[in-house]
Symmetry: D2
Subunit: 336 residues, 4 copies
C-alpha cells in the first residue's frame, strides 16, 4: 500500500497516521522525494481502505499488489516525465535520443561529437569517464577531469550529459557535471550505490543486469525511489543467453513489459543490445516502435579507432541516417 | 565449396568433375533441387579454384567458409523468393502476412477467419491440425480431415495454407492440401523429418528450436536443401531464457543476423515470441522494421474461447489495427 | 487422478466405472501397460474419492496433483526397477553402469570394448548406430547392420545393448537387437516417436532436452507410459546455458529433483554433461553420490581416433580407474 | 607474461627491468603482494624469454596465455593454501567446512551454532551481518554491532569468521572482526570493491556472479590479486538458467574447470546452489568428490524460524549427518 500525504500534512497528523498503520501491523517506510511524501506499507493486514483515506493529512491511498511499490503503475498511472532543463524532457511525447562515444577520449573528439549532435538536434550526450572492465588491465576511463572537460564543451550548447557512476564515493565529485547518472549493468544490484543515489536530486538511469530479471530491475529502481529520488529511468541493454552470434540478446519484449508495469521512462541501448555495428540502427528503430521513450547509442567519428566498443559504434554517417529514419517515423506518428 | 553445374551438364562431364574432386580428397554431396544441380564439397584441400571453374559442365564455383553451405549468403547473394502461386510471393519487396488461429476448430471458425483475411488483404492462412503438446492429455488437433476442410474453404479465395507437419508419415497425406509445411520448434532438429521434407517440392518453413542457436537453425535448413528442396523459410519465434515475465524471449537480433548470413526469407512469429496478446502487434512491427520478410501471428474471433493459445491471440479488431499500421509503414518505405 | 483396475476387472465393471467418471466430467485416458490397467482422469470435479475406491473392479485410487500423472511419485512411492534379463536390473540397490563408444565403428572395436566391459563387470553396452548430427554432412552412423553385429558380439556374454532410435520407422527393425531404446536430447519432444515407443514392450530411456525443463522430461515420459509402456528411464545429460567453458552445463540438481518427483530410475550421462574427457570420471562419481541409479559414459580404446565425440570419451585405463572408485564407494555404502 | 622479482631485487635492478620491458612495448602492472613482487606484462611483442630471465633481480618468468594472469595455473602450478591461523588452512589436503546461519540473529543463536560447530569439529563460521536483498523493504542485516558480537563469541574457540562485505566503506570497520571477507554474487563485478579488497591483508572469497562466466570470476580474482592481495578463494554458488524447479542451477562442472585453470582454492556453496534443504547435503558431497577444497552451507537450529533463507538451511541433525558422511569419505580417500 502507498499512502500519499498532503503537501501541508502536519507532523501531528503524520504521527497519528503512522500510529494507526502500526496498529494494523504494517511495516512502514517513510519516503520524501522531490515531489511528495509517501508512506510505503508492507504487510498483510485486513483493513478498510476508507479508514486510511479519510485520515487528516492523507491525500490518497493505493493498494499495490506488486512487490515493488513506488515504481509500479498500479498507483501512478500517468507516465513520469524527467525534465533536464533547457526543454530537454525524457518520457514525454517524443523519443529522447542520447548518443556519444563509449569512452571520452580527447577534447578534439568531444568537439566533433558535439557538432554531430547539434546537426541532428540530439540533446543528450553519452560518454563514459569511469569504465567498468572485466579485466583489471584494460583502459578504465579518463576520470573526473575528463568529465569536467565534457561539461565545459557541452554546456554552451544546452546539451545534457549522461555518464556512468561506479561507486558511492564518486557521486559527490561528479554531481556538478552530470545531468543523468547511469548505473551500469554490473552495478544493477549494487544496493549501496542505489541507496546513495536515492539521496540526491539528479536523475538516475538504471541498466538492467546482465542477467537481471525485469522484476529485479524494478526492485533496483525501488531502492532509489524509496530513499527519496523519483527521477528515474529504466534501460534495457540486452541479456545474457546461450546464443553466441552476437554480444547480448536484446530483450525487446522487456520494453513493453516495463512500460506496462511501471510509470518510469524506458530507454533502449541498441549498441550493447546486439554489439555489432551493422545491426544497431534497425534495433534502435524497433525499440522505439515497441514503445521505448528513447534510445542511447554509441557514435564516434572513427569507430574503428575508438578506445573501447568500436565494433558496436556507429559512425557519423550511419548516425545521421538513423536520425533521419527516426524523424520519418515520428512524422507518421507510429511511436505511440 | 559449392559447385553449380550447368543445366545441360552431361553425365560424363559430371563424372569427370566428381573424379577430379575426389582426387582432391573432398567429401562430396550431390544435390539436385528444383532449380539446379550442385556439388557440395567438404574438405580442407588446397587447390586452384580456376581449375574447377574451367571444367566442362561447371557453371560456377564458390568458396563458402561457413559450416552450412547451400543456405549461406556467401554463394547466393540474391535473396530467395518463394512463389506460392496466385501472385503470393514470400521474400520479395513487400512483407508477407500469415495469420489465423492456433488450431483449426470448426468450419464456422474458418469462414469467419477467411472473411477477416480477405478484408485485410492477407493471403496466407495459418492454422494447426496436428498440434505438438507437452502433455499427452492435451488437445492434439483436428487432424487430416480438418486440413481438407481448410483447403476447401480457402481455395476459392486464392488463400494459401501454412500448417505444421509433425512426422514423416504425415507428409504424403498432407501434400495436396498444404502450401507451406511448417516444422515446429520442437522438431527443429528432427533430422529424419528434415530429410523427408528435402525430397518434396513444396515450401518448408523451419522454426528455430526452443533454445536452438542461429547456426543450428541454418544447419536444419541445410538438411532440407541438401536433399533437394530449396524452397525454404526460416522463422524466429523466441527462445528460452531465465526471464519468466513472458512465454519466450523474442530474439529480435536473430532477424538481422539471419538476413545477413543466409539468402532465405525470414519470418517472425510475434505470438509465440512473447506469448501475451497485448504485446503482439508492436512486436510484429518491430520485427518488420528489423528486416523480417514477413510475420506469422495468431488471430481468432474470440481469443478467450480459443481451444489453444488464446492468451497470445489477437482478436479481429486488434488484427485490423496491426494491418493498418503495417500498411502505413509500407507507405513510407521503412521496410528495407 | 489415477485409478488402478483389478487384474480381473470385468468389462462390465470397467464400463460402469467409466460411466461414473464421465458423469463427474472427467476426461479419461485408458492405459494398459505390461503390469497393469489404469484410468488417468483429468478434470477439476469435486467428488468423494471413496465412492470411486469402492467401485467393483477398482483396486486403488490416487489423487495426483502434478500435471504428469503416471510417472509421478505421488501415486507410486516405490521406485521402479527395470529388469533386462540375465540379472541385469536398473533402479535396484546398486548403480548400473552403461559404457561404450559414441558410435559403433567396427567389429574389432566391438571385441575390444566387450573385453573391457567384462573386465570391469559392466553389463550394459552403449553405442550409436543412428547418429543425430547438426550438420547433414557429418557421419550419421553404421545403421541397422551395425546394430546386428553388436548384438551378435554381446549376446554370448549376457551384455545388454542401449542404443538411440531416431524415428518411428526404425523401431520395428531395431526391436530384436536392442535391450533399451534411447531417445536422444533432440528428440525429447518428438511426440510421435514417444507415442510409438509407448506401444512396444521394451525399456526406453529418455534424455532430457537440450534446454528441456525437468517437467518437460517427465511429460515426455508420461507420453510413453500413457500409451502402455511403463519400462522407462530418465536421463540427465546437461543443459544449454550461457557458459562456454565446456559443452553442456551438467544439471546435478536435476538428479535429486527427478528422484523426488518420479518413481522412475534416473541415469546420468557425464560424457555429454561436460564434454571434456578429464572431467568425466569425477562427474560420474558426483552423479552417483547425488542419487543417480546409474551412469552412461563413452569409452574407446583410442579416444583420439574415435569417429565422433572423442574429446569426451574415456580410454580403457581411465574407465578402469572410474570403476574402481565406484566399487570403493559402493563398499562404504554412500550411494543411498 | 608474469615476472617474479627476487626478494632482494634492488630499485635500480627493477628500474632496469622495467625500462627493458617498456622498450618491448609491454604495458606493465607492478604488483606487490604478501608473498612477492610481480610485474604483469600485457602485450604481443616477440622476444627471447631468456633475455628477461637473466636480468639481475628477476627470479622467474612465465608466459601466461590466459587473459587473466596472476590467478592462472599456467605460472603457479602448486595450489594456493590460505592459512587463517590456529591451524585452520583452506586449500590443503583436507576439505574445509564453513557453516552457519544465513543471517546473524541473536547472541543465543550464535551460542547454539558454536556448540554445533564444535561438536562437528567445524572451524569456520559463516553468518551475514550486511545482507544484499532484491527488495529495499526486506531485512538488511544486524550490521557491524552484530559482527562484533560474533567475534566475541567465536574467538575463545578458535573459530574463524567468513562474512559478506558489500561496499568499500565497510572494509575498515569490519577488518578486526573478519577472517575471510566474502564478496557476494551481486558484487562479483563491483570492481571498486575488488580494488579495495586488493589493498588489504585478509583473505577474500569471491562468489561467481549470478550469471557470471568462469572466466569473469577469474578476472574478478585477478582484480584483487593485481592490487596486492593474493589470499583468494573462489566460490561456485549456482547460476541462473531457464529451469525453475529450484533456486539456482549448481554448476558442478565449474569446480573441475576452476581447479584446472587456477591455483586458487575452490569452495562450493550447495545451499544457494540448489536452494532446497533436502538437496543440500548430497550436493555438498558431490562438490567435494568433484574436487572442491571446501563447502560453505547454511545451518540453523530451527531453519523454519530463520529470518532469511530458511528453506535452504539444514537443521543441526541434518548437518551432523552431512559431516559424518564427509568424514566417511575422507577416510576412504576419495577427495583427491
Amino acid at each position: 500500500m502507498i499512502i500519499q500525504l498532503e503537501k501541508n500534512c502536519s507532523l501531528t497528523e503524520k504521527e497519528a497516521t503512522l500510529s494507526y498503520l502500526k496498529s494494523l501491523k504494517f511495516s512502514i517506510t517513510e519516503v520524501k522525494t522531490q515531489s511528495g511524501d509517501y508512506l510505503v506499507c508492507i504487510g498483510k493486514s485486513e483493513f478498510d481502505i476508507r479508514n486510511i483515506g479519510n485520515l487528516p493529512g492523507v491525500s490518497d491511498v493505493h493498494i499495490v499488489s506488486d512487490n515493488y511499490k513506488l515504481v509500479s503503475k498500479k498507483w501512478k498511472v500517468k507516465n513520469t516525465e524527467i525534465n533536464l532543463g533547457d526543454n530537454v524532457i525524457i518520457g514525454g511525447n517524443t523519443p529522447s535520443i542520447m548518443a556519444g562515444p563509449c569512452s571520452l577520449e580527447s577534447e578534439e573528439q568531444m568537439q566533433k561529437i558535439i557538432t554531430h549532435l547539434l546537426k541532428n538536434n540530439i540533446k543528450i550526450l553519452r560518454g563514459g569517464v569511469f569504465k567498468p572492465r572485466s579485466s583489471p588491465y584494460a583502459f578504465r576511463g579518463a576520470g573526473i577531469e575528463g568529465l569536467k572537460m565534457m561539461k565545459q564543451i557541452t554546456e554552451p550548447h544546452g546539451i545534457k550529459i549522461i555518464t556512468e557512476v561506479m561507486q558511492v564515493s564518486q557521486i559527490e565529485e561528479m554531481m556538478p557535471y552530470v545531468d543523468v547518472f547511469q548505473v551500469g549493468a554490473r552495478n544493477s544490484q549494487n544496493f549501496n550505490l542505489l541507496d546513495a543515489l536515492g539521496e540526491i536530486d539528479k536523475p538516475v538511469m538504471i541498466k538492467r543486469g546482465i542477467s537481471g530479471t525485469i522484476e529485479e530491475l524494478l526492485y533496483s529502481a525501488e531502492y532509489v525511489f524509496s530513499k527519496g529520488n523519483e527521477k528515474l529511468l529504466l534501460c534495457e541493454r540486452g541479456i545474457r543467453t546461450f546464443e553466441t552470434a552476437y554480444r547480448n540478446t536484446f530483450d525487446i519484449n522487456a520494453i513493453q513489459v516495463l512500460k506496462e508495469k511501471s510509470h518510469l521512462p524506458v530507454i533502449a541501448d541498441p549498441s550493447h543490445g546486439v554489439g555489432i555495428r551493422d545491426y544497431v540502427a534497425k534495433l534502435a528503430l524497433a525499440s522505439l516502435i515497441s514503445g521505448a521513450d528513447g534510445v542511447i547509442y554509441e557514435v564516434h567519428e572513427k569507430p574503428e579507432e575508438a578506445i573501447s566498443d568500436g565494433q558496436q559504434t556507429l559512425n557519423f554517417f550511419e548516425s545521421d541516417q538513423l536520425n533521419s529514419k527516426i524523424n520519418l517515423l515520428k512524422a507518421v506518428n507510429v511511436f505511440t
